[in-house]
């Protein structure tokens, strides 16, 4: 049984001229231990899709099955990493990471320990007491990542996590994410990432799901069978980027 299964998921918003269809009839599965990327042009509803999976946004029709069962409301075994970081400006790094743990009802001593562990994992030692506005963009996203990892989710959802960062910071954060994911004692095994950067998807994921824009439909579901670590300049890599590009181009 797959960890996550989407069956004919659609989403539309009420709009001035009838309904605005954002996602239409999207179906795919994610297996335990997989790293899956969803790519598509802006406006294909990929971020909305992620929020539907998490349960923050209700779907219009279709089904989201988690471990074969439909989840009502928020899926507590998922954790979300935001493009805009979404850190509480009045909480310290530690406070931000502890916030979801508090929601899970974990006792204070354990919360502190876990927050410390993940602060260490993302390389933020010494910044426990810092406030978000004192951190650089890359460091803020490390906090966002640590906050999600600290929940020790079965499924990590990432919404354009590196899009708000400069290119060099994004490269190093991508590498660190892969390092954390590949560790034998990694807190997460399954990751679903949404991005509009095709190279990023191909570099990171085992599978790339290509969405069309307005409304979002699945154009292709590609298995990326390149060896890791992947070389962006290799022929195989380029073949995949060309393929995804042409898929999206054709549709437009």
């Amino acid at each position: 049984m797959p960890l996550l299964e989407l069956r004919h998921v659609s989403k539309s918003y009420p709009h001035a001229k009838g309904n605005l269809r954002v996602i239409e009839d999207v179906s795919f599965t994610v297996e335990e231990g997989e790293f899956v990327a969803i790519v598509g042009p802006s406006g294909c509803g990929k971020s909305t899709l992620l929020r539907i999976i998490n349960g923050v946004v209700p779907l219009t029709s279709g089904q989201v099955l988690y471990k074969g069962r439909q989840v009502d409301g928020i899926n507590r075994e998922c954790a979300l990493v935001f493009q805009s970081f979404a850190l509480m400006p009045w909480l310290t790094v530690e406070g931000n990471i502890e916030m979801p743990l508090e929601a899970l009802g974990i006792p204070p001593a354990e919360r502190r320990k876990r927050a410390g562990l993940y602060i260490d994992k993302v390389g933020l030692d010494g910044f426990e007491e810092a406030y978000p506005r004192e951190l650089s963009g890359g460091m803020k996203q490390r906090v966002g990542l640590a906050r999600a990892l600290a929940v020790e989710p079965r499924l990590l959802l990432m919404d354009e996590p590196f899009s708000a960062l400069d290119a060099l910071t994004a490269i190093s954060l991508r590498e660190e994410l892969l390092d954390i994911w590949r560790l034998p004692d990694s807190p997460v095994h399954t990751i679903l990432i949404v991005t509009h950067i095709i190279e990023e998807a191909i570099e990171l994921a085992d599978r790339v799901i290509v969405l069309s824009s307005g409304p979002g439909r699945v154009l292709a579901d590609l298995r990326i069978d390149l060896p890791r670590p992947r070389d962006r300049r290799s022929e195989g890599f380029n073949a995949f980027t060309d393929k995804v590009f042409s898929l999206i181009e054709e549709r437009n």
């Binding site: 507590r76 979300l80 805009s84």
Partner: protein, 579 residues
């Protein structure tokens, strides 16, 4: 920021406040002696005269707003000219804003009545001036902020093309001010109605000067137990407010959106527009139509002007050094003349002020400390009551969009009604039921206080960033945890801004609430507002007016500087939403 530098600035700010204050009061005393007699016109409660009274009120509003508009553009752009201008002009507005306007009404009446040699024009001018002071400051600040936040590259474009000052004003500065000017104009009209009605109500009691208008009509009808006429008056007021909103403000707000500088990311429209929106949509055309009409009227004289200007060869001052020097000298002479005039007026007033204060103080002056404490206690009770219902309501609304929408529409309706229009009913009702003056006073203060808190907090709720709310939901925070970790901290700055404005409103209401005449009987309760009103309307004791006004303003400024400003700085530092 350097701590000692901050202190010096605070001390300088406080010193400046008191100087400004002294100047204002000094001006009043300089003209006090020239006060003339004024005949009060008889006030009719007949419904036939209602349109006349409505017209009187509306034209006062319009006159005050027109002055406020011109003032705010000139003052706001002036303050935005440079650091030095800003450092003097912005604190001045800060003080003007924190002074309880209603308290100055008696002073304004004396000043303008003497200026108009006792004619009715004087009291009209006083009322218009009072409404102006309730409208102008936030508009001027809005203009200043807009002009200051114009992106540097836009300014550079005009410099790069060597565009003239006039072109820059017309194509850059004025358009940039439009959104905030429209937004603040709406707020100013709400405040203006409140003070207009207050001015008119005040004049009913003492029967020395009268302002025919909706406020005096409302007070008079309640006093004579003419309920039907009272309701008719209230409905007329509401009709004017609603009509203004539909015909002027809503179209103008839509039009003003065009001038916004931010390029917000397009988000899917979540609210389905209903039928009403379509009707409003048609009305939105009115704003541009009014503008087009103006342009049509102004087009012929503008064409003549342009033709004349094209005939006359352009004046090049740099070709005539003598002319240029002469113009510069003339400018300086004008500036010096104005400065000398103001200096003279202030010195003249200060002399009168010192003379007034050096006379033996009336025995009532001994009551001032206790009266001040009593007034503060009443304000505190009203504030506590406001917080007790508004904070739970906003918190509940913050996690329940439907409740939020309902509360917002409720606030919009209630906010449109100037609370002062309901003063007569509250007075009549509570006096007939309990007779407890303290209760009446606190209730009246409450009506002047609570809405500011509600508006600010509701605005705060809508400003909580969507991604933070989403994060709270995505991580499964319970409702209480969301309030504690997200909403309360995020709302703290709004709570403090709301509290500052609420206390400002409270002080104004205080002056109306501690002393009033109802059915030819005077009702009063010990307080600063009472001392001020008694001195103005009963004893006519100038020293007492001065002392009460001074104490009130000193308390207001001290509270603002020592309590609210500090809290605000802490909140702005810790709970700011950008990072």
């Amino acid at each position: 920021m350097n701590a000692s530098a901050g202190n010096t600035r605070r001390i300088a700010g406080a010193a400046f406040s008191f100087l400004m204050l002294a100047a204002i009061i000094a001006l009043f005393f300089a003209y006090r002696g020239r006060m003339g007699a004024l005949h009060a016109p008889r006030l009719s409660v007949s419904i036939r005269h209602l349109p006349y009274y409505a017209f009187c009120s509306f034209y006062r509003m319009l006159a005050a707003y027109a002055i406020a508009l011109v003032f705010s553009i000139v003052y706001g752009l002036g303050a935005a000219r440079g650091r030095i201008w800003e450092r003097v002009m912005i604190p001045a507005i800060d003080i003007a804003q924190s002074v309880p306007v209603v308290g100055f009404f008696p002073a304004a009446v004396y000043f303008f009545v003497s200026l108009a040699h006792g004619s009715r024009l004087g009291i009209e001018m006083a009322a218009i001036f009072l409404i102006f002071t309730s409208q102008a400051w936030n508009m001027a600040l809005g203009v200043f902020e807009s002009a200051r936040t114009i992106p540097a590259d836009s300014l550079e474009v005009f410099e790069a093309f060597g565009a003239s000052g006039w072109l820059r004003l017309r194509r850059l500065l004025l358009p940039a001010c439009v959104p905030k000017l429209v937004y603040n104009s709406i707020l100013s009209w709400v405040a203006g109605w409140y003070f207009l009605i207050a001015c008119e109500i005040i004049t009913v009691g003492p029967a020395r000067y009268r302002l025919p208008g909706l406020g005096s009509y409302l007070m008079e009808t309640v006093g004579k137990s003419r309920h039907g006429e009272f309701i008719a008056g209230l409905l007329t007021l509401l009709a004017i407010i609603v009509a203004m909103d539909f015909i002027v403000w809503q179209p103008l707000s839509t039009w003003a959106e065009k001038f916004r500088y931010e390029f917000a990311a397009a988000t899917p429209e979540l609210e389905a527009p209903g039928e009403t929106v379509a009707i409003v949509g048609a009305l939105y055309q009115i704003g541009p139509t009014i503008l087009r009409a103006f342009r049509l009227i102004l087009a012929p004289p503008a064409m003549v002007l342009r033709a004349v200007r094209e005939r006359i060869p352009p004046l090049r001052p740099d070709k005539f050094p003598a002319l240029e020097r002469g113009m510069r000298i003339a400018g300086w002479i004008a500036v010096i003349a104005i400065a000398v005039f103001f200096a003279w007026a202030i010195v003249d007033g200060l002399v009168a002020l010192i003379r007034a204060l050096s006379r033996p103080w009336p025995p009532a002056a001994r009551d001032i400390p206790i009266a001040t404490l009593a007034s503060i206690a009443r304000l505190l009770v009203a504030y506590a009551i406001s917080l007790a219902w508004i904070i739970p309501c906003t918190l509940a609304a913050s996690t329940n969009p439907r409740l939020r929408q309902r509360l917002a529409s409720f606030a919009e309706i209630v906010g449109a009604v100037p609370a002062t229009a309901l003063f007569p009913v509250i007075v009549a009702f509570v006096i007939q039921v309990t007779g407890g003056m303290n209760l009446v006073s606190i209730l009246l203060i409450l009506t002047g206080m609570q809405w500011y808190l509600l508006f600010n907090l509701l605005a705060g709720v809508s400003q909580v960033p969507e991604d933070l709310k989403e994060a709270a939901r995505a991580f499964g925070l319970s409702r209480v945890a969301t309030w504690r970790r997200l909403m309360l901290p995020a709302l703290t700055p709004s709570l403090i801004t709301g509290s500052i404005t609420a206390w400002g409103g409270g002080w104004n209401a205080l002056i109306l609430s501690e002393y009033f005449v109802y059915q030819n009987r005077t009702y009063q309760v010990m307080g600063l507002g009472q001392l001020l009103d008694v001195a103005t309307y009963e004893t006519g004791n100038g020293t007492m007016i001065l002392l009460s006004l001074l104490s009130m303003v000193a308390v207001v400024i001290a509270l603002n500087r020592l309590v609210w400003r500090r809290l605000y700085n802490v909140a702005a530092e810790r709970y700011r939403l950008d990072y």
